[in-house]
Amino acid sequence: MITVETFDTLAAASSAMAGAGSGNRAGAGGSCYMGGGTLVMRAVNYGDGDFSRILRSRDPALLRIEPDGGGVFIGAGATMAAIAGHRETAFLAEAATAVGGPAIRNMATLGGNLFAPPPYGDLSTALLALDARVRTADGQETPMESFFARRRMTGPLVAGVTVPRPEPGVLRFRKVTRVRPKGVSVMAIAVRLPFRSGRLAGVRIAFGAMGPTPVRAKSAESALEGGGLEDARIARAAETLAHDLAPADDALASAWYRQAVAPVHLARLLRSAREG
């Protein structure tokens, strides 16, 4: 039997979770925090989530999308639809719209996307390429990369992310699916390609669905850093991908296939960036 508890603040939910000494998601013990519930309710329906207690929060702060220093703060409860439709987060609209169909986007939250297992996590992939920082209920901020490196279903709940605002056109996103117009990822690719006086400086290349969490392809980043987007460089960057990606088999694509086509898709994305 499942009980549902709703809290007025995220902090209260977070300490209720910590008090229970258990995880915040399906499979991690007694309690599970629910954002939009697109994945949590699925587990409830199929009876395969190892939890008997659902915690929710109706904290209005969770819905905030607002300027924050040089960037934007996005509350963990903001939905894909809200992010895609908000002026402040227009640079994320493509990645947010890549998630699910319209009904899913009305429900799916940023917080849930950060914890969604592969092949999910499209928006999170874009956030990783943007060097976003994850803010937890205890006020701590963690760079996205270390957040993913240590993603645990137990730690404190996530309050939101702060995202440095990219210059226009610098973020490129591509989702590869086998089903159109809607389908989950064979892979998602987000690249940030800032040019400083004709040379790339601060390249970020992030892949989703190519490992247990979104990951950066650091060898490919260094292959591009300091140069331009010439064919030879693109080819070199694409060649290195096997070092950094560790995809798994699923029913949509085998690990082999994902590895084999990742360079092709990265090269295409980079060439299309060059062509503007």
Binding site: Y46, G47, R178, R180, G183, V184, A251, L252, S254, V264
Partner: protein, 598 residues
């Protein structure tokens, strides 16, 4: 807008002119219910005290149940009844037994040895679906995991694990004599010897789930007159009724089946599993019982169109006419017969496709493997082999250096020709279809191809192919006996048919055994399957990727480079254009065929 056109010159006697409904658009009778949400599908009936039934299923492809401990489940709140295999009055059936075809080989709830992942070994009936799920998870099964086989060739190897004890050779028995269904027409062996060119190909099709939007399910309700009403999603109401009567050993007069409003079937709602389950539940509890597959079950245990594998060998003469064609076909039935045995019969009746080939031979096997049992799907028995034949036609055209459409016209059957199953062809019109299709696609044809007609040139010598004596190749049990010469066959079914005498063996068993294991994958949800969604122009972001491993044709032609998009070239199809066309088509066919993994 209609794209249908009846050319009376070819189909003069096919359809009278004065039909009022057929051939005319009409508003569906049930459409008002559909658009108002008031059409009553089986689950759109509410009952007080409805109970929910769910199965404990095998996590293994092949395993024996040592023991089941359901005591914890039985004690859980809301659980009303544990249903065991022994509760099924006559726990063995084969669907086509209603037509007297095949032997009973499948239990409703399996008592001992399961042959596929997801096979039910116990059921739980509870007050709510959640309680039924919780109880199912609380059942402990002690499994003795057995070696499994997931590939048809491996299953036919003499030392393969026995999948289905009723058919210990892992192949269905045809005509009480052969381990395959045969077709013999003309003399292929002699014709191959005289052929100018031999073209061979192997074609594989993955299973395809029908994926109806409504999953399979039924609600059974005990009535006061000792009868049971069953609301069901079935596509085959009386088939399901008779199957239920047989398994539950009930007179069919005790059953009142209500159905007909089906949320999509496509062949996947014929197998009559949910109806006997729900009626059994209602019998055992005296309450209305719903047995409904969730989406995972629909995808995992719902019987798909089975996998097929076809080896085709063509012999061509100097002009590009196919003078001989040999098929070796394998239908992957999964663990039980269901309808696969009949799919094979239909497929063989369809060979060699719509072409006039004077010498045709086929050995087609209905093979048991430890995969989900397969059943009907649209174009039942035909779609897979047609796919193989048309791929082979492209390959052969390329080998002969001919335009693929002209090659089809050259070999197409014509009115009056004798077909391989010894019926005269009429209303063929394939030639004209090719001509019209080529025109609409802007595909240039030469004058010879354009001047052909299905109404002339047929019959005569093309109709007089003498009958071929059937050979004794592939007797039941032969394969296995060859591998185990000294010992009697272990585990042969209750009626173990092992005919005496060794007759000329088929060469199929010579192939080295292969095992194909299911890759790890996420649970079978809708997301993980390519259920065709909306049509949309392919975006550059998601177009074909030129890194597919090429399928190397086994003809002399080298495998050509793949072009980016499969479109008809504007120029006449030179051999080079043909190459790219073929490669594009083959590549595309991988996507078409590979829509499901199990």
């Amino acid at each position: 807008m209609t794209t249908f056109e009846m050319r009376k010159e070819y189909f003069a006697d096919e359809r009278p002119e004065d039909l009022k409904e057929i051939g005319r658009p009409t508003i569906r009778q049930d459409i008002l219910g559909h658009v108002t949400g008031r059409s009553r599908f089986y689950d759109d009936h509410l009952f007080d005290g409805l109970l929910h039934m769910r199965c404990v299923r095998s996590p293994h492809h092949h395993a024996r149940v040592r023991a089941i401990d359901a005591s914890a489940a039985e004690a859980m709140p809301g659980v009303r009844r544990i249903v065991r295999s022994g509760d099924v009055p006559k726990n063995l059936n084969t669907l086509l037994s209603l037509l007297g075809f095949g032997r009973d080989d499948e239990p409703l709830i399996t008592p001992e040895t399961v042959g596929y992942r997801g096979e039910p070994v116990l059921a739980v009936i509870a007050e709510t679906e959640a309680a039924a799920r919780a109880a199912v998870r609380a059942v402990r099964v002690d499994w003795d995991v057995l070696p499994h086989v997931l590939d048809v060739e491996a299953a036919l190897a003499p030392d393969a694990p026995i999948v289905n004890s009723e058919y210990p050779n892992n192949s269905f028995d045809y005509h009480d004599r052969y381990d395959h269904q045969k077709l013999r027409f003309g003399d292929v062996d002699r014709a191959f010897q005289g052929a100018e060119r031999i073209v061979e190909g192997r074609y594989r099709m993955s299973p395809i789930e029908q994926a109806p939007m409504e999953t399979c399910g039924a609600i059974a309700v005990p009535e006061s007159n000792d009868r049971f009403t069953c609301h069901t999603s079935t596509q085959a109401l009386f088939f399901s009724l008779a199957t239920t009567a047989k398994l539950l050993d009930l007179p069919s007069a005790k059953l009142h089946f209500i159905g007909g409003t089906v949320g999509g079937g496509f062949g996947g709602k014929v197998d009559s599993v949910v109806e006997p389950m729900s009626v059994l539940g209602a019998q055992l509890t005296g309450r209305p019982v719903k047995f409904m597959w969730d989406r995972e079950e629909e995808m995992q245990v719902g019987a798909p169109r089975g996998a097929e594998m076809w080896d085709i060998r063509d012999g061509l003469d100097r002009d590009g006419r196919i003078i001989a064609r040999r098929f070796t076909g394998y239908f992957d039935a999964g663990a039980y017969t269901r309808l696969s045995s009949y799919a094979v019969v239909k497929a063989v009746g369809h060979l060699p496709g719509p072409y006039t080939i004077p010498n045709v031979a086929a050995n087609v096997y209905c093979v048991f493997t430890n995969r989900t049992p397969a059943t009907a799907m649209r174009g039942f028995g035909i779609t897979g082999v047609d796919f193989a034949i048309e791929c082979q036609m492209d390959r052969a055209a390329e080998a002969a250096g001919l335009d693929p459409v002209a090659f089809r016209i050259l070999n197409a059957y014509r009115d009056g020709d004798m077909k391989a199953h010894r019926r005269l062809a009429k209303n063929t019109a394939l030639i004209e279809c090719c001509q019209v299709a080529a025109e609409k696609a802007g595909w240039p044809l030469d004058g010879t191809a354009l001047s052909q007609s299905s109404l002339s040139g047929g019959g005569g010598a093309r109709a007089s192919v003498p009958e071929t004596a059937t050979d004794g190749e592939g007797r039941i049990g032969e394969r296995r006996r060859r591998a185990l010469p000294a010992e009697p066959l272990a585990g042969s079914g209750p009626r173990g048919r092992l005919p005496e005498g060794t007759i000329r063996g088929s060469d199929v068993a010579a192939a080295p055994p292969q095992r194909m294991d299911m890759g790890p994958g996420s649970g079978p949800d809708l997301e993980s399957f390519v259920v065709p969604p909306l049509p949309a122009a392919p975006s550059p972001a998601t177009g074909p990727v030129p890194h597919q491993p090429p399928i190397a044709p086994s003809t002399a032609a080298s495998s050509p480079a793949a072009p980016a998009t499969p479109t008809a070239p504007a120029t006449p199809a030179t051999p080079a254009a043909g190459d790219s066309m073929l490669a594009a088509r083959l590549r595309r066919s991988r996507f078409l065929a590979g829509t499901r993994r199990r």
